[in-house]
């Protein structure tokens, strides 16, 4: 009997595919965002409003994951951007391979933004890297303020929390300050934007966030390609 050390991540195959995609996106400066939230948190409506408000000339694509139906893709496709539904057929999350397979048909390297709407679930999608620049957690005020405490994994990994459906605040007992406090207890550096996809509240701030991240990514991509374009000196006599 022999025991051999393996020491590799269980999801190393997923991580490898994700890293490869990330390298490609980094080269061209496409900003990829992975939206994670419970079913009904308002991810699709939030993305619809985002697509409506993107400045003219913006290039973007949306992948939307669900266990069944093309319903979300149909909703999102009304806004003039390429959309693909990823039907997982039972799986509770998207993985990097599904994303790469669906990107194959798209000139995604020309996109400014790649929006990925994950399957509605606060647990499983957290473990799967999709090659994104940031995970964004969407929490609605129709849920409990203590979601960050109940599902710490995603709130720890998300860079931004969208506190959504704030138009409902007059009708629900949700305490915004408490939700913010819980989120910061789990992840002190998390950014928080309060939004309503119905009234458009908070979308100015959200579009600023998008632009800031996109410019940072473009600057990084430019630095990478400058480095790559340094002419290689041919040794004399070669």
């Amino acid at each position: 009997m022999i025991q051999v050390p393996v020491e590799r991540k269980v999801l190393s195959e997923n991580d490898r595919v994700a890293a490869k995609l990330r390298t490609r996106l980094d080269l061209v400066g496409t900003l990829a965002l992975n939206f994670i939230g419970s079913p009904g948190a308002g991810k699709t409506a939030f993305l619809e409003r985002t697509l409506q408000m993107l400045p003219g000339g913006t290039s973007a694509g949306v992948l939307t994951g669900d266990i069944q139906t093309e319903n979300d893709a149909i909703r999102l496709a009304r806004h003039g951007y390429p959309v693909q539904q990823i039907t997982t057929g039972g799986a509770c999350h998207l993985d990097a391979r599904m994303v790469v397979e669906h990107l194959r048909e798209w000139p995604f390297e020309e996109f400014d933004f790649l929006f990925i709407e994950n399957v509605g679930n606060l647990v499983c999608p957290t473990s799967y890297d999709l090659g994104e620049d940031a995970k964004i957690v969407v929490l609605s005020v129709a849920e409990g303020e203590d979601k960050p405490m109940k599902y710490p994994g995603i709130f720890r990994k998300a860079e931004l929390m969208i506190l959504n459906k704030i138009d409902l605040l007059p009708y629900v007992p949700f305490q915004v300050a408490l939700a913010r406090e819980y989120a910061r207890q789990i992840h002190p550096g998390i950014e928080i934007i309060e939004t309503s996809s119905v009234t458009g509240a908070g979308f100015g701030q959200w579009l600023e966030w998008l632009n800031r991240r996109r410019f940072a990514k473009l600057a990084a991509a430019a630095a990478v390609s400058e480095e790559a374009e340094i002419p290689v000196e041919v040794p004399a006599g070669a």
């Binding site: 022999i2 025991q3 393996v6 020491e7 590799r8 991540k9 679930n121 647990v123 473990s127 720890r156």
Partner: protein
């Protein structure tokens, strides 16, 4: 909830590792599970038993070790090196 996917990733990794040790049969694989990994150990154990059933790895045992953070790593693999080990002569014949 995604334990089925995790279980099949573990089995895939075992098969990959096993190829480096021809003639050895995998007996036990150890996986470290962080408390924040989002994986339920009971459910993972159940899924693993289900996916190895009726495969050459049917007897493969999954040993789960608690760990910190969101760790989800395969620690080691135990192989039976006496099993079906081809003798030098046999190998020469098959080449």
């Amino acid at each position: 909830m995604h334990e089925m996917g995790i279980a099949s990733s573990i089995l895939e990794a075992v098969r990959k590792e096993q190829r480096r040790y021809p003639g050895c049969r995998p007996v036990r694989v150890a996986v470290r599970i962080g408390e924040f990994s989002g994986v339920s150990t009971d459910s993972l154990q159940f899924c693993f038993e289900a996916i190895v059933r009726d495969t050459p790895e049917e007897a493969l045992e999954l040993s789960l070790e608690p760990a910190g953070g969101d760790e989800l790593d395969i620690a080691w693999l135990e192989l039976d090196d006496d099993a079906e080990k081809p003798s030098v002569d046999q190998r020469e014949v098959t080449v």
